[in-house]
């Protein structure tokens, strides 16, 4: 309510400004709401999927590494066990004497290497650490092993012993398998050497992507096989071996966890401790590569998420904009209706005022007429008056009566106008309606040098329509036509009515010879608040109200214009259901 009052109080700017503000705040609120309602859940879902998938992928990767390292561990253990069993079988099935013979030993080595050349050499060593027999590439017959680490370890442990990699006398990395047994009172050792290549071939061939590697490290962190990157066999590994607890497992090695790995990216490390010897098998890969598929999937998901958010943003911006547009249009329509209502009520009050004035003027007019009549009567009473004087007086009286008649016409029109402004729809004589408007505006036209050319179709049937509204349209159009001649010394306004029998309607044409409407704005002339008149002269409502009235009456209004030539408005009004009205009501109306 208060807003309506304010619009009524002052017409344009403050409310427009207010509306603009409320629209932008509405816009912001809509956007915020859609963002909260759509982007937020999407982010939550995205995050949940991301974290779940990541942990799932991690456990899969963990399992993969675990299996891989287990598999390789078993492979190596099996290899070592087989070799150990070979030697043990040899020791158990042959006598020391037999083994002590070099040619026999040669035969046995060939047998062992029948499948593949696992063993480089083979030697029988007595309990003093001296070779009894030796077969191999190196001349080691006179070497005494009693002080070597493996001899000590084997004699202390008994059974069999697998050594770490060492260089030994021959200066190449190798390891040995030693078997200790006793026949009666003497202890004997069967010793065989295995080249590092075999272990390398067992695990070194395993390729694991770009950054993956598999290698063996002993308890002290010495490489037992050649790693793919960052070192070679017998070098000290930089892995924090002490942290590899238990039988095996998978862990992530963060950069900076050990000094040497500071510069390297995160690593996934799978490890498994061998039972004999005390080595640890390591399967290692860059975290980024190991999880590249996961990362890829996650990146895709992230891209998708962002695209979705972008799409939501775009859609929500567009829909909100559209909605605001709709709301704004509604508001404008409501506003327009309000103004129209104001205009109508203004017109109605004007009509009332006009009626009052007309009534007040009619009484004195009636008196003037009676006075004139009295004078006429008196003249008649005195036949001896000067003839010339009498004629002059009678002429004056006639003039007075004529002028009274003219005033009478004006007041009648005013009364009619006011009556129409309240009237309900009825049968309307469009011609009469036009004539009344012309009478009202003729004076204004003449002062502007505009001549009216009126051509009315006498056979035009009465229309079932709203007389006051129709009159308002005519007033608007004719007043505009007069205004269009501003700056021109003279012009004509042509008003024509025609009955269009084929389309069953009345055509009313109002054409002026005024300034015309430029083509670029001709589409806008029926828009509310569009005006070419200077501020304060036109409301910009006249034509839009006319347009709406004609539309509401079921008709059409069109405009044709050429700059400097003039403008022509054409109204078409359908005859409607009651085409010709010969009702008694018209009779009484015509009288008054």
């Amino acid at each position: 309510m208060s807003r309506e009052v304010s619009t009524a109080a002052d017409p344009d700017l403050p409310t427009e400004e207010l509306h603009k503000k409320s629209y932008s705040s509405l816009y912001r609120r809509f956007i915020l709401l859609t963002l909260i309602c759509s982007v937020l859940p999407l982010l939550v879902v995205g995050w949940v999927i991301y974290s779940n998938y990541s942990s799932f992928a991690y456990s899969r990767m963990e399992e993969f590494f675990y299996r891989r390292v287990e598999y390789n561990r078993k492979l190596i253990e099996l290899f070592l066990k087989e070799r150990t069993n070979d030697l043990q079988l040899m020791a158990a099935t042959h006598s020391v004497n037999y083994l002590g013979d070099r040619s026999n030993l040669q035969r046995l080595l060939e047998k062992l290497n029948q499948e593949e050349a696992y063993f480089i050499d083979l030697g029988l060593i007595n309990e003093e650490g001296k070779h009894v027999a030796y077969i191999g590439l190196f001349d080691l017959m006179d070497k005494n092993y009693s002080q070597t680490f493996w001899f000590k370890a084997l004699t202390a442990k008994g059974g069999f012993y697998v050594s770490d990699m060492f260089m030994g006398y021959r200066k190449t990395p190798h390891f040995i398998i030693g078997i200790l047994w006793s026949d009666g009172n003497k202890k004997w050792i069967l010793r065989a050497t295995i080249e590092n290549e075999f272990l390398d071939s067992l695990i070194g061939n395993v390729k694991l992507g770009e950054t993956g590697e598999v290698f063996l490290v002993n308890r002290e962190g010495i490489y037992q096989t050649s790693p793919r990157f960052g070192g070679k066999i017998m070098d000290k590994s930089l892995l924090p071996i002490d942290s590899f607890e238990g039988e095996g497992g998978v862990r992530i090695l963060e950069p900076g966890e050990s000094r040497a790995y500071k510069k390297q990216p995160s690593q996934v490390v799978g490890y498994a401790w061998l039972k004999e010897p005390n080595w640890v098998l390591v399967v290692k890969q860059d975290y980024a590569e190991a999880f590249s598929d996961v990362n890829h999937a996650n990146t895709l998901a992230l891209v998708f998420l962002h695209l979705s958010i972008l799409a939501i943003l775009v859609v929500s911006f567009l829909t909100t904009k559209h909605m605001i547009g709709v709301v704004r249009k509604r508001d404008e329509e409501a506003n327009f209706l309000n103004r129209q209502l104001m205009q109508a009520s203004k017109l109605a009050s004007l009509g009332e005022l006009a009626a009052g004035v007309a009534h007040e003027i009619n009484n004195p007019l009636a008196i003037i007429l009676t006075e004139s009549q009295l004078v006429r009567d008196v003249i008649g009473d005195y036949p001896d008056f000067d003839r010339e004087f009498k004629t002059e007086l009678t002429n004056s009286l006639s003039q007075i009566e004529d002028q009274v008649q003219r005033c009478n016409q004006i007041t009648h029109n005013l009364l009619r106008f006011s009556r129409r402004s309240q009237a309900v729809p009825g049968l309307v004589d469009v011609n009469a309606c036009l004539e009344e408007v012309v009478v009202l505006l003729e004076r204004r036209g003449i002062t502007s040098g505009v001549e009216f050319v009126i051509d009315l179709d006498k056979d035009l049937p009465q229309l079932m329509t709203h007389p006051s509204q129709l009159q308002q349209v005519f007033v608007n159009l004719i007043a505009n036509a007069i205004d269009a001649h501003e700056g021109k010394p003279h012009g004509t306004i042509q008003i024509r009515t025609r009955a269009n029998e084929t389309e069953r309607g009345a055509e009313i044409m109002i054409a002026d010879t005024g300034s015309g409407i430029p083509q670029e704005i001709i589409d806008k002339v029926f828009d509310p608040f569009f005006t070419t008149k200077p501020v304060g002269k036109g409301t910009g409502l006249g034509l839009s109200i006319s347009y709406k009235i004609i539309k509401d009456l079921g008709g059409t209004i069109t405009v044709l214009s050429e700059v400097d030539k003039g403008t022509e408005f054409k109204i078409f009004l359908p005859f409607g259901s009651a085409k010709t009205g010969e009702g008694p009501a018209d009779d009484s109306r015509e009288r008054i």
Binding site: H359, L365, D377, I592
Partner: protein
């Protein structure tokens, strides 16, 4: 035309009711010169008194008057003197009051300012109708007896 002749022989008695004193004085002078017996009053109450005191044929009645207005006066007159003919003459342009007046039994409705000849004709027509109705009333009275 015979009726008109009759009316000329018997002068119509006219009562002018209007709050405009100048109008009624002028009009009564004019109408008197045209052979009517005219009396003028300036409000509704005086008009009622006048028709009670004397017999009139035609009343020329303004609608808008201070005190008792034309419509109210018309109602009372028609009740008291059903055969009295009333011409409504007003400056007010409302159709509704005109229709109302006609429904209440007024003979005619005219707007100010009115040409004297026009008013004279209306008065004569009204008078003629009054005479006719009086005749018919007498006949039916006689017939019923």
């Amino acid at each position: 035309m015979t009726v008109a002749k009759e009316s000329e022989e018997k002068h119509a008695r006219v009562l002018l009711v209007d709050d405009e004193v100048v109008f009624t004085t002028n009009m009564s002078k004019i109408l008197s010169r045209r052979g009517f017996e005219v009396r003028a009053v300036n409000d509704g109450e005086s008009a009622i008194e006048a028709i009670e005191d004397e017999e009139y044929d035609v009343v020329v009645l303004d609608l808008r008057m201070p005190g008792m207005d034309g419509i109210a006066a018309l109602k009372v007159m028609k009740r008291k003197r059903p055969l009295l003919e009333v011409i409504i003459l007003t400056g007010h342009g409302s159709v509704e009051s005109g229709i109302q007046g006609m429904n209440l039994g007024a003979f005619d409705y005219a707007m100010k300012p009115i040409q004297i000849n026009e008013l004279q004709e209306k008065i004569e027509e009204a008078f003629a109708r009054k005479l006719l109705q009086e005749k018919m009333a007498r006949k039916s009275e006689r017939g019923s007896h």
